[in-house]
Symmetry: D4
Subunit: 243 residues, 8 copies
Amino acid sequence: MAHLLEQLEQFANLDLQRAARTGIPEVVLAERKLPAQTVAIVQRLLRDLGRVLVSCVPPETLAALEQALSAEVIWTRYGEGRTLALQLPGADMATSSGQVGVLTAGTGDIPIAEEAAALCREMGCAVHCAYDVGVAGLHRLFEPLRMLLAVPVDAIVVAAGMDGALPSVVAGLVDVPVIGLPTSVGYGFGGGGMGALTSMLQTCTPGLAVVNIDNGIGAGAMAGLIAVRAAAARKDQEPRTEN
Amino acid sequence: MAHLLEQLEQFANLDLQRAARTGIPEVVLAERKLPAQTVAIVQRLLRDLGRVLVSCVPPETLAALEQALSAEVIWTRYGEGRTLALQLPGADMATSSGQVGVLTAGTGDIPIAEEAAALCREMGCAVHCAYDVGVAGLHRLFEPLRMLLAVPVDAIVVAAGMDGALPSVVAGLVDVPVIGLPTSVGYGFGGGGMGALTSMLQTCTPGLAVVNIDNGIGAGAMAGLIAVRAAAARKDQEPRTEN
Amino acid sequence: MAHLLEQLEQFANLDLQRAARTGIPEVVLAERKLPAQTVAIVQRLLRDLGRVLVSCVPPETLAALEQALSAEVIWTRYGEGRTLALQLPGADMATSSGQVGVLTAGTGDIPIAEEAAALCREMGCAVHCAYDVGVAGLHRLFEPLRMLLAVPVDAIVVAAGMDGALPSVVAGLVDVPVIGLPTSVGYGFGGGGMGALTSMLQTCTPGLAVVNIDNGIGAGAMAGLIAVRAAAARKDQEPRTEN
Amino acid sequence: MAHLLEQLEQFANLDLQRAARTGIPEVVLAERKLPAQTVAIVQRLLRDLGRVLVSCVPPETLAALEQALSAEVIWTRYGEGRTLALQLPGADMATSSGQVGVLTAGTGDIPIAEEAAALCREMGCAVHCAYDVGVAGLHRLFEPLRMLLAVPVDAIVVAAGMDGALPSVVAGLVDVPVIGLPTSVGYGFGGGGMGALTSMLQTCTPGLAVVNIDNGIGAGAMAGLIAVRAAAARKDQEPRTEN
Amino acid sequence: MAHLLEQLEQFANLDLQRAARTGIPEVVLAERKLPAQTVAIVQRLLRDLGRVLVSCVPPETLAALEQALSAEVIWTRYGEGRTLALQLPGADMATSSGQVGVLTAGTGDIPIAEEAAALCREMGCAVHCAYDVGVAGLHRLFEPLRMLLAVPVDAIVVAAGMDGALPSVVAGLVDVPVIGLPTSVGYGFGGGGMGALTSMLQTCTPGLAVVNIDNGIGAGAMAGLIAVRAAAARKDQEPRTEN
Amino acid sequence: MAHLLEQLEQFANLDLQRAARTGIPEVVLAERKLPAQTVAIVQRLLRDLGRVLVSCVPPETLAALEQALSAEVIWTRYGEGRTLALQLPGADMATSSGQVGVLTAGTGDIPIAEEAAALCREMGCAVHCAYDVGVAGLHRLFEPLRMLLAVPVDAIVVAAGMDGALPSVVAGLVDVPVIGLPTSVGYGFGGGGMGALTSMLQTCTPGLAVVNIDNGIGAGAMAGLIAVRAAAARKDQEPRTEN
Amino acid sequence: MAHLLEQLEQFANLDLQRAARTGIPEVVLAERKLPAQTVAIVQRLLRDLGRVLVSCVPPETLAALEQALSAEVIWTRYGEGRTLALQLPGADMATSSGQVGVLTAGTGDIPIAEEAAALCREMGCAVHCAYDVGVAGLHRLFEPLRMLLAVPVDAIVVAAGMDGALPSVVAGLVDVPVIGLPTSVGYGFGGGGMGALTSMLQTCTPGLAVVNIDNGIGAGAMAGLIAVRAAAARKDQEPRTEN
Amino acid sequence: MAHLLEQLEQFANLDLQRAARTGIPEVVLAERKLPAQTVAIVQRLLRDLGRVLVSCVPPETLAALEQALSAEVIWTRYGEGRTLALQLPGADMATSSGQVGVLTAGTGDIPIAEEAAALCREMGCAVHCAYDVGVAGLHRLFEPLRMLLAVPVDAIVVAAGMDGALPSVVAGLVDVPVIGLPTSVGYGFGGGGMGALTSMLQTCTPGLAVVNIDNGIGAGAMAGLIAVRAAAARKDQEPRTEN
């Protein structure tokens, strides 16, 4: 394994300072890596940083991690194991009074939305979720929205596939920045998320910006950055209890 | 002019029986024709059928028609002159108790929606319109919708550009067949109506079918066919006052 | 299983009132769900509503349903098991004198067309089908068309892949609203249904509206809505034998 | 002008032998050339070959040619002047007993179809045309088709825009090679001829090959090559009256 | 004019409460409206709200506004007159300590970026701009970036056409939320802004979300919402000098 | 099996007269059919017509046919079994003096080209093939071309993937109609045959028409029709030795 | 004018060192600039650097430059004035023994090719051109190619529209790096240069790299860089006569 | 095996002279070939040329080669076995003082970059690599770049997926010709390498040309040709130690 780690150093100059510089934790995209490669990177990051987020985890990589990581590692699974937050006991934990809302139009959008939620939590934010509140039955939308406005949240991630109409409807009803997260749910013409992405970009309601299809990490990073900064402004006047 | 008409017979075997066979009136698409060609075709159809609908009328064709047609022709202008219903006095008028609703998301969608409304009226239907009720301010939608349901209408044409979300929202709230009419309002990625078409095809709400971008005639024909047939069923039991 | 059901309530706010509001029965799209998820949703809907339609059923989900559902459930299979109509004995059955025609251009279009037929039957309509009547041999089209006009049907669903020419030809010959249902039959440029969708949207014949590629449920819902409303108009004067 | 001709020799190595080698006459595409450039090339080809075809002629180039060419040049205009066949008196004329049919779906397709007809005539073929016989009214198709089969023609060019369904219908009814010629008639999704091209490529009926959108010259060249070769085979047994 | 205003009420249910609800001022998109329509809408909004932003102003609409508006209206022109902020003396002015940065890659991106800046200013934010700092000469980027971080800004709008690389580079260097604003600068494959949009969506650097091509209003609204909320959090502890 | 055949009659109105009407034999596309469906259709066509062509044969269908068909069936395999010509002893065999050339640019294009060759042979033509003569080494092209011109052939099918340049080069060198057959060889941008199709449609050389990507049957049918008709013209003067 | 220059400094941080750093001269893209903007930038660059290249010059900008520039400026016009090389007398002139070949497939490609040639000449290279040597008549290609190989050239720019086949053919015949320059010549499917770009990217012949459609500057810069470096290597041993 | 080789001669006219003519070695693309086909071609090329490069090697073909090739074959594996350089002992080895740099933006781009490196080495060049130096952390770029400029290299291949920004950044910093190599790393809109290709073609920095997505061989061939020619120029003055 030591040899593999050396190879890794040659292959990937891991950017350990990025977390410090941008406030966004290190994320390992497991999808196109061999399980052994992911395991080695995760182990190194745990050793150096104490915590790491792993996204798009294939089942065989999940198994390899379960077998390889030491028992003391603390696991949090999101989206049925698609996203993993791993940390060593006592690792530094980002804290913030940032508040993020996460909504999905359908049930198929949940694993992608969870990716965004996981990243926001790693950034120290509180995340408030409501799933399957889509446009076909508008009455299901209003209660979750009232809940998010009561917190109040600093930003809302809205995940939707198919016609991608939910983020526009939400942005038309609130004065909170909305991050549209198109998902690859959908088929035929405009399938694979293209319809959702297109209609989010074509929105008539200002206050909505988007990330790429299925890019839950990107949506979470944007929402987290907004919330952490708003929280930092609030902190200046409040007793900073979380530090 | 007689010579031009003879040329026309050579060029275009006008399908005078179509109106009788499908219940949809003859429509002259003026967009790609020379003004003189449109004038000649319109004059022949007026002589043979007593009435004609002209769509996508360019300003110079409008001027040519105004100059060429005899004073007795009765004009109805839709969508600021983009669509014209022309008839001779005493021409047979289709009658029906068919009821059609027409909604638009924005003001830019109105000329296209008027094209659909014009065709439905030529088929003898009553048309009930409400414009600029789009998704960005949902509260503007509910009163028009209640009005349409009170008629009640047999079909609803919903014209929308940009993100094209309105037809899905409407279809999710009513049990009336909805015809989605994407318009070429929009720019950038998904512009020219592609975003609207895509999200209508990706709709999560059943009870919605679509026509091509800016095809108001097609949307009107579909809605008119549905309404005329429903009205015919009602007619069998009612005193046919309109004949 | 009770635990899974509770999770489901958290994941999916099932919209039990939709059937009542729009006249379109509840449809479970099984394609992107785990077999256990589909089984749980189906069981809950059967318990609450007495009947449910399941579409895009993968073989392993079919097997899971066959094993899990109680013996009293009444099964109707469409399109070689791709679509399932499931009901408990004595469940309320929608009734209507609505009449729907369903045509396909080729044999490959049949499973998608059956999805539309299944939905129309669940809405209480009589469905009249004729398959493989495509454009390459026009003489095969005329007899089925005469049959549909003799019923007469209130709407016709026409499923076609490849060049998608059949719906236009049909709409040019009848005065019944036609719903074009493009299927993913086809390859190369314009394959996967894009050619069929494109030519249906580009049709020269009014009286045709379309749904997305392979969206049999959507086509059936549109046709069913039209037929049910026409039938309701007829019912007002006829003895309602079906209630 | 002599200077311009010299410049031309530097710019364009005109391929005077092509006509002899492939049986297809020299065609000058006027669309992207300055009027003076087209005039100079036409004059040189008339001088060297005695005849030339000019396609996609803009109005200002038409005017320039009318002014510049000597009075003895014999003009034949096709498609309202979009295509010009020019020759000097006594120039060699290709002769052939080749027979080509040309059909169009609508009137908008005629100028493109005329381009194909012009090229076939330059190759010495007899051309038999029938315009505006499109799919929306199938009954208009049968008489022209019977006429073409009675000649009988060696190849049929079928020009169509919009849904491009006519070539497939024709190829399904005859045993003559059909060249599909998509035209840029059409709008919205699949507009500009894309819908027509797509459905011709997706045809279910063998015996159909296509050229690019609005490429009347290409369609004519293919049909002409087929007809000239078939005629040559016939000639071997018939008295060659045309030479 | 009174008559035109009445027509307007029928055509456009202006949503006067939107500004209050979402914090984003009313914007009139002048591009697809007749000059008289824009003048009438602007006059009504000035009368009702005291201020209005007009975007995508064509030259003839600019002239019509200059002629029609009363002399007391206060004009601010952005992007060479493409965007106009109009207000009556004494109109309520939004105030905020929100800080927004606006960068452009090239000079061609400036008019679009100014649209974003105008909207942020209308929302009461201070806007800090640096133009033509694009990727081809990275050394020009660092000084402006240091300036923005010194403010510090709450959000940065980065406008770029062509390869759209600048937003990713900026987001990789700062911990401020970045809104990518692709512009239609560019030609050939990926032209019209598609290349810029694509590479922004494909970014490897988290903390970046995008709006549609040339949608300066959308980018400004997103940045403004973020900044106003951050400023509100700061305000709770500071003396609110701006009210 | 009898039952399956009856089902088939209901599912597929086999068009047994097509061969007689268009000169193109019946082709069974095996790709999207279950092996048992293909076997049943093949058996019926063998019984009724004595011969059948099967294309796009998957390995499992090949195995099913080998097991199911009676021993007397005569097999001809093309393209490593992708295409099968099956006949009963003594079945009528189309005869013709038609001559067809078939070229491929690379080795990957051969299975598709063989599909075209198989169809031409079923139409009674002699087929002359030369493979892997592509543009990267032009010197390999000249000898095969000289051979084809010496026959001489009535039509040439040229199969090419990647940049699809070969058909244009060939059409520029001969005066024989060329059918461009783009294949799905290729990757990245323009992959899957799109590059080949595009460049064939954009050809500068007249005398070239194309079919869809991988549509060997369509290319063969077009070439066969041309050759059979040319041969029929020749036959009128020659002793018909092949009947 | 002084005021406009000051505005310019604010708008455009001209990158005067780029020429020195990359060996590529400063190029002003005149297409999207107002004539006065272009004039001001050109005057400043002439003053600072002594020479400048202006590309995509619209006629009105050409007129403005002719009027504004002092009489001593030395003009070189390329591609009928589309590209301008401007210099003051005595300005430093790059010198190199770099040798570049430039070929075009058709006459329509010449203005774009001239843009590449102009840039190479500004870099001090000798440029050897041959125009209209396209694939439809291969025999026209061989003599120019022999000429280029005799020089010998260090790189060849090959401009082609339509099917874009020429660069692949050239790269298959020589061992010199080839830069494919797709031009926007072409129409219909794959028009506007997409067909040419696609087939160049799909080339089967190694030794070919491409730039974007109509990007003559980019092609020239690449060829110039290659040639200048090769020449520098040669210079080390030769008497540097050009300095 | 002898029989298979004979078949091969019929199937593939291997172009053994290409290496000599263009300086680019013979490359066998193993991806779409059966393992046995690849083995036979490799064995023949080893016998005839002494060396061969095999690219896109699937695992089963790798295994087949390992088993089939004689023990004396010398193997060099690139990109985890995706590319293989095979040679017999004593085979002629191309030598050159050509110097090529190879950079990648991420780790996922390495196997494609290695393909380019392998080809350059086969052409006799020295290759200098630095991997994972992408735009998100610009500080990682500068040291590798300084190293390449110190060599100095004759050409640089820059492989990047996702937003494909790295080649533009590099070309803006150096005066060496850069070959952009887009890789299929990326997902959602612009995925599969389309985003990378698009932004490379849209680059604002001259001195960059591109090859198709994942075409490492093409990038290597272009870089190798450039470097070999520059080295040849240098050689003329240096003692040729490598021959």
